[in-house]
Symmetry: C2
Subunit: 404 residues, 2 copies
């Protein structure tokens, strides 16, 4: 690296082009003068960019707008199906695929149970689902910008290799390379929490001015950090592992190999496991009825449902989970003082009582006066949030406006 | 905030100017062609900047260099005492003031015991020490760019107000405004950990490519996060409070009002306090001799010295402190995956045995495979590190190259 940080004029140009495109996308039928004002560029600069985008078939002139005194201005809009971005959510229990067009509309989605966590078989399933989704939604291949694959675990940034995925039992699997060999498209593998959070943020608001942390409360627990210029990765791409913060010295064994991690008590998997152990030890609980006496059917949701109905065991499991999560969030607030924490993932679908418990725990553990501006909110993108985030990873990382 | 992030051409210009200045400073007698190559600018661009800097009396021509074929090029150097930056370290036990010139040389320094933590009296002492330092080192007032005051605690970023300083018992004190009223200079109040860390980084290397965390192990424990574009603050300016992460559910009372914070066990103050309590409870230890039986004289350093000599009590106190610090660092690594952690502050002056204990604890608590690129090193700036950092806060935040 050069010692002198040089601000790059090329990135200014690319950035201007993206701003103009997004402004047209959002405005839908918008004239050049309004674009110039909104994105803070001169009209000639906007003209040069729009001319290029029209030539590439990315935007088009839709007719004349209202006059504001002089000539009626030409209105511009984005060509709807010029580009497609595919997102794949590789979940422990199901795999979801979405197709997003360049108007950010989800034009196709599909979900199937995860058939195997064995690398070869899982890679085959991802390949098959992606290709069949492209053929079933009749996408011309040259309009598919790329496939963004959201995978739980530590992902090496430049290579998309899975370094370690505790919940899949994976070590050192070249997922991105393997998918590239099988698929005739750009493939980007990203940590699932990062994909999820970038999808939620795109859905909710513009970039943060300081920092937004998205926390995924699901089968496992992870997080992603978003700074003003985008996702934060860290020196080796492993940032955001909030679930593997150790909060109990002599705590439960965790799939990562340590003891007392937040995830070992508060994840969906851990919540279900604790209920199973309690039932095996003959603790009285209504969870037994909910799973019809079959441990294999026992899911975290049943524990939450029982807790809502006042079941003592379920209440204590959920309360402890909320306490651990709150401790983790308080740590994140002390360290990073974010403007917003977005809680996402399946566990957040269990309603306000759980979110309220978490918030209460946060204020117990948070340093007084620290993180005074933080807002804790719940994500909005639902079950396909991570897959949609995968598609956004492609939007954000492949310069389709210049190259096509 | 505008929804469209605009990259600013003005900041490109300012950035180029700073790069050229730093390049001349570092090169000392350097010609324009070499500057252009090093900072990645065209020769005409460099000529325009250097002409302006010469006109402002910031750099000067020192004669002709060696010819590399054609005319002998004009060599440039920085005028040594054109600007001065003053740094003040407001410590719990002593106040230190340094004067740094624009060649980054410390031309004057002074240290005095902190006479009072009562706001009015402390503000009077800072004012008095700063003014006498300026008069004793005979600085022309118009060459003093500003005073950077490093203060422990939560500091509101835009106002330099002290929101909360547990170790001083301060709440809501307008330190920056009060100093501005008393001093005829620019005054910037910054969190002491941020100042310390920015000073250490300037001393050691260029900006990080991902993230550097500096941890101050001293009377209290705090940290600062540095990203590629400089210090990270957070949404309310309170980021970096690693010392107030709670690592023990039923732990010691901490000056912040919580229980079980890292600082409550591992800070210099806490180490000394634990030894005092043990001695009061008649535990056998050689620390008693080191403080000549006088509890008031008992300092953390004596505990470290006794531990080195194999004293059991001292060993267990130091080991527990290292364990808590290691847990905090592991949390920071899991969350932020930094490229470097710089350990600074008085406790690090106790030698490798303590640093080794900390590193061992880190690897115990760190998530497997996470933070694979992190290096843990010890800072190098010694007792005046924080004051020097205060001066750097002025260098980094006041555009003295354009305004003067």
């Amino acid at each position: 690296m050069s010692k002198f940080t040089k601000l790059d004029l090329n990135s200014v140009t690319t950035n201007n082009r993206i701003n103009v495109f997004n402004c047209i996308l959002e405005g839908n039928k918008i004239n050049r003068a309004v674009i110039a004002k909104k994105v803070g560029l001169s009209i000639p600069a906007v003209m040069s960019i729009t001319e290029d985008l029209i030539e590439k078939g990315i935007i088009y002139a839709v007719g004349k707008g209202e006059s504001s005194g002089g000539k009626r201005p030409e209105m511009l809009a984005v060509v709807p199906d010029r580009f497609f971005f595919i997102g794949v959510d590789v979940g422990r229990t199901s795999i979801r695929v979405v197709v997003m067009n360049n108007c950010r509309d989800i034009v196709y989605k599909v979900s199937k149970a995860t058939e195997s966590v064995e690398p070869d078989e899982l890679i085959a399933q991802i390949t098959e689902m992606t290709m069949s989704c492209i053929s079933e939604s009749k996408l011309p291949h040259d309009r598919v910008v790329g496939i963004g694959v959201a995978m739980p675990g530590l992902i090496e940034r430049d290579t998309g290799r899975v370094l370690f995925s505790p919940n899949f039992g994976w070590n050192n699997i070249s997922l991105q390379d393997e998918l590239k060999r099988r698929l005739p498209f750009n493939v980007l593998v990203e940590n699932a929490n990062r994909a999820l959070v970038i999808g939620e943020i795109k859905n909710m608001q513009p970039n943060p001015t300081s920092c937004i942390i998205g926390v995924n409360l699901a089968y496992g627990i992870g997080s992603a950090i978003v700074l003003p210029n985008g996702l934060y990765y860290g020196a080796s791409g492993t940032s955001g592992e909030i679930g593997h913060i150790i909060v109990e010295n002599h705590g439960s064994y965790c799939s990562c190999g340590n003891y007392g991690c937040i995830e070992s008590i508060a994840s969906g998997e851990a919540i279900a496991r604790q209920a199973r152990i309690a039932i095996a030890n003959k603790i009285q609980t209504t969870i037994v009825e909910k799973c019809e006496g079959d441990f294999k059917k026992l899911e975290a949701k049943m524990v939450f449902d029982a807790a809502k109905e006042g079941d003592h065991l379920a209440e204590s499991i959920v309360k402890k989970a909320a306490d651990y999560i709150g401790k983790g969030l308080a740590i994140a607030i002390n360290m990073l003082d974010p403007e917003q924490i977005i809680l996402c993932g399946g566990l957040t679908l269990n309603g306000d009582f759980f979110i309220d418990m978490i918030k209460k725990a946060v204020s117990k553990y948070q340093m007084r006066y620290a993180g005074g501006n933080v807002k804790i909110v719940v994500g909005k993108s639902g079950h396909y949030a991570t897959a949609i985030g995968g598609a956004w990873i492609v939007v954000n990382n492949i310069d389709f406006l210049s190259n096509n």
